[in-house]
């Protein structure tokens, strides 16, 4: 009896891992930032609809941030995600508009398959080059980005608007949540609206969380990123695991492209430009390290929401200019990077800091 309770107590005392700690910090900062916005900005931030707006506008970013988290946990990088979104959106828009496609649920399903297929093709190509030919992932995915952007403009230089009624009706479909709505001045209840894309993004986050945490492949990806040699000695097929991580990443980018099309039904050569860097930033803010082996898609989700919230705050403030937004993004990123560095080093981890920045930690010994 006593041994059991002692074991339980010891389990309770088990400290947070670094990734969990960083994730907790980012969740706390998101909550604090949002609360400040509610207090100081008021207006839209006091309505639940604002959260859903953030989700609706950034659904695609959440999905590609997950795509990046998966490869970053495996110790790689994928900067082609934005390009793949651009290509997917353009290809799907042209496909939906082509005369041979009849209007109907089949065409929408085929479009979804096309989007996933494009993403998967990029994932397989890049995964093969990175894992089986051992080429540096940065260069491979950079070439992938060039390829995707080039193919997009080859398909069409001009913007393509989707005219398929079937698809547009899906775009119009909103999930209504009455109990989170608010009462307008004339007494009508306006329910909170969520787009299908936002729901897809949330489901993706939950699925990827469970996958990385409990599935065999997910755990192998962590092992691979943590230490490739150890993973190899444990009998993990390192090459196949890395290949599959890039494949998952590509598939998610294709899905993100479809979600983008459901939010803005038009293809354009500049769709999701530079979004790969936003996705990397979101992953880092959420506690994923570029060195691999650490990270969590829940943290990534909150990282994306932090970026989205700060942009919304600036858009609603008098400083509504793109260069202010970029500066705020940079400052935020810098803050989180320094915070991570300090937190990790004060826990006695591999990062070294000058003495004046070290939080004294000696007493515990």
């Amino acid at each position: 009896m006593t041994t059991v309770s002692r074991a339980k107590a010891e389990k309770h005392r088990e400290p947070l891992t670094d990734a969990q700690l960083l994730m907790t910090i980012s969740i706390c900062i998101f909550a604090a930032m949002y609360a400040m916005a509610m207090l100081l900005m008021g207006g839209g931030f006091r309505k639940a609809q604002m959260v859903f707006d953030l989700l609706n506008d950034n659904a695609y970013l959440i999905i590609i941030a997950c795509a990046l988290t998966v490869v970053m946990i495996g110790g790689g990088i994928n900067i082609s995600v934005g390009g793949v979104i651009g290509l997917t959106v353009m290809a799907c828009a042209i496909f939906l508009n082509s005369s041979g496609v009849e209007n109907g649920p089949i065409s929408v399903t085929l479009t979804l398959l096309l989007a996933l297929g494009i993403g998967l093709a990029f994932g397989i190509l890049q995964g093969f080059l990175v894992s089986y030919l051992e080429i540096q992932p940065f260069i491979v995915t950079l070439a992938g980005m060039f390829l995707a952007r080039g193919l997009t403009t080859m398909l069409s230089v001009n913007p393509v608007k989707v005219s398929s009624q079937e698809f547009l009706s899906i775009v119009q479909t909103k999930i209504l949540i009455p109990w989170l709505g608010y009462t307008a001045k004339n007494g009508n209840l306006i329910p909170a609206k969520m787009e299908i894309g936002a729901l897809v993004a949330l489901v993706t986050v939950i699925f990827m969380y469970l996958f990385l945490r409990y599935a065999r492949l997910g755990r192998h990806i962590y092992a691979l990123g943590g230490n490739q040699q150890s993973a190899l000695m444990l009998g993990i097929n390192v090459r196949r695991t890395r290949f599959l991580s890039y494949m998952i990443s590509g598939l998610l980018s294709g899905l993100a492209g479809f979600v983008f099309l459901m939010h803005k039904p038009a293809g354009n050569a500049s769709v999701a430009m530079r979004s790969e860097m936003d996705a990397i930033a979101a992953s880092i803010i959420g506690g994923t390290l570029l060195t691999g082996g650490m990270g969590n898609v829940i943290g990534t989700f909150f990282g994306t929401m932090i970026l989205a919230t700060i942009q919304k705050i600036i858009a609603l403030s008098p400083l509504n200019q793109s260069w202010w937004q970029e500066m705020a993004n940079g400052a935020l990123l810098g803050f989180f990077i320094m915070l991570q560095s300090i937190v990790l080093s004060s826990r006695g981890k591999k990062l070294r800091l000058p003495a004046w920045l070290k939080i004294s930690h000696q007493k515990t010994d």
Binding site: Q136, V140, F146, L147, M277, I284, T291
Partner: protein
């Protein structure tokens, strides 16, 4: 394998880029021999200048060549890349223009002062990156992501105006040609920066130290090398390269556009480093490889333009060629090809020969 050194072994990492360059030249020769014609023409300011595709390739690759030299150093010392070179280049150009506007008149002295001040400002920004990398041990790509995302906004903020103009014969001299010399001036900028770096490496132990830190930082420290100082030095030298490239870019157009100055050059510079056969993981490096890589990229682009490929579509073809080059340079492909070649020559497979050797 046989103890005898092959003639191509001395080229080492330069073999693949040289072959790629030769193939590009051969392809152009077969396609259109007129591609290589060089002529003399008189430009708008009355100077005799050389014209032709080759001259324009060497001229317009100048900024890329300069920046890829600096990128090679950072890659070698830190094992990562600085992705903020384009954004910091915009800041650098903004400082240059600001100084010239503050001086009132544009003379040789004010241009030199502008270059000096913008060089100092760029070094400061690069040292910010360098501090994050060397002192706080943050991955270079992440650390430089900060300035990547806000650098162009800072450039906008410095000048306030979207596209300030610089109208002066001195500026166009720096950007285009010197009177009496038919070679475009930016080429001299590449040679100057190259000479500066070569002098630094030949006269001091910097090259050895940089490679040592890149290969094994712990071992370097035990041998009395200060890794932090070496990394900061590499970032400072990158700062010099970026400021020279930015001034060249501003002078070439005679105006500053904080959105398009050195746009996307970070990706091309990293490509140039990789095509030149340098490891992106740090360690040994060859500046000549990166310079060759920069000219390969520019030659590829010019070739595609000459083949009437629309500028927006160039990226896709570029990607295909890059993938082919990196596959050719892949260690796996190399060892497979070597084994295949050995089998072809001896008529026996690698494993059989190994057994015989035992």
């Amino acid at each position: 394998m046989h103890g005898k050194k092959k003639w191509y072994a001395s080229l080492g990492q330069l073999l693949i880029p040289l072959v790629a360059m030769a193939l590009l030249i051969l392809f152009n020769l077969l396609r259109d021999p007129g591609f290589f014609s060089i002529g003399l023409a008189t430009n708008s300011s009355g100077n005799r200048v050389l014209t032709g595709n080759i001259i324009s390739i060497i001229d317009s690759a100048s900024e890329l060549a300069i920046i890829s030299m600096g990128m090679t150093l950072v890659t070698a010392a830190c094992g990562g890349q600085d992705i903020s070179v384009g954004a910091v280049g915009a800041i650098s150009g903004a400082v240059f223009v600001k100084v010239l506007q503050a001086m009132g008149s544009i003379s040789v002295g004010s241009v030199l002062l502008g270059l000096l001040l913008c060089c100092l400002a760029t070094i400061l920004f690069k040292l910010f990156n360098g501090t994050l990398v060397a002192v706080f041990h943050i991955q270079p790509m992440i650390a430089t992501l900060i300035l990547y995302s806000c650098g162009r906004s800072i450039a906008y903020w410095i000048n306030g105006d979207a596209t300030p103009q610089l109208n002066s014969p001195i500026i166009s001299t720096i950007g285009m040609t010197l009177p009496g010399i038919p070679v475009p001036t930016p080429i001299f900028a590449v040679i100057l920066v190259g000479l500066l770096l070569v002098l630094v490496f030949r006269l001091t132990t910097t090259q050895l130290y940089t490679q040592t830190v890149g290969i094994n930082q712990g071992a370097a420290r035990l041998n009395g090398i200060h890794p932090t100082a070496v990394k900061l030095l590499s970032f400072a030298l990158l700062g010099v390269c970026v400021s020279v490239a930015a001034v060249t870019g501003v002078c070439r157009l005679g105006q500053l556009n904080h959105k398009t100055l050195l746009a996307d050059i970070e990706m091309d510079a990293i490509l140039a480093v990789a095509i030149g056969g340098n490891s992106l993981g740090g360690g040994r490096f060859r500046l000549s490889g990166s310079i060759l890589g920069a000219y390969i990229i520019q030659m590829l682009t010019t070739t595609l333009y000459a083949m009437n490929v629309a500028p927006v579509n160039v990226k896709a073809y570029k990607a295909v060629v890059i993938i082919i080059i990196v596959i050719a340079g892949s260690p796996v492909v190399k060892s497979k090809l070597t084994a295949l070649w050995a089998k072809f020559r001896t008529g026996k497979s690698d494993s059989i020969r190994r057994k015989e050797a035992d």
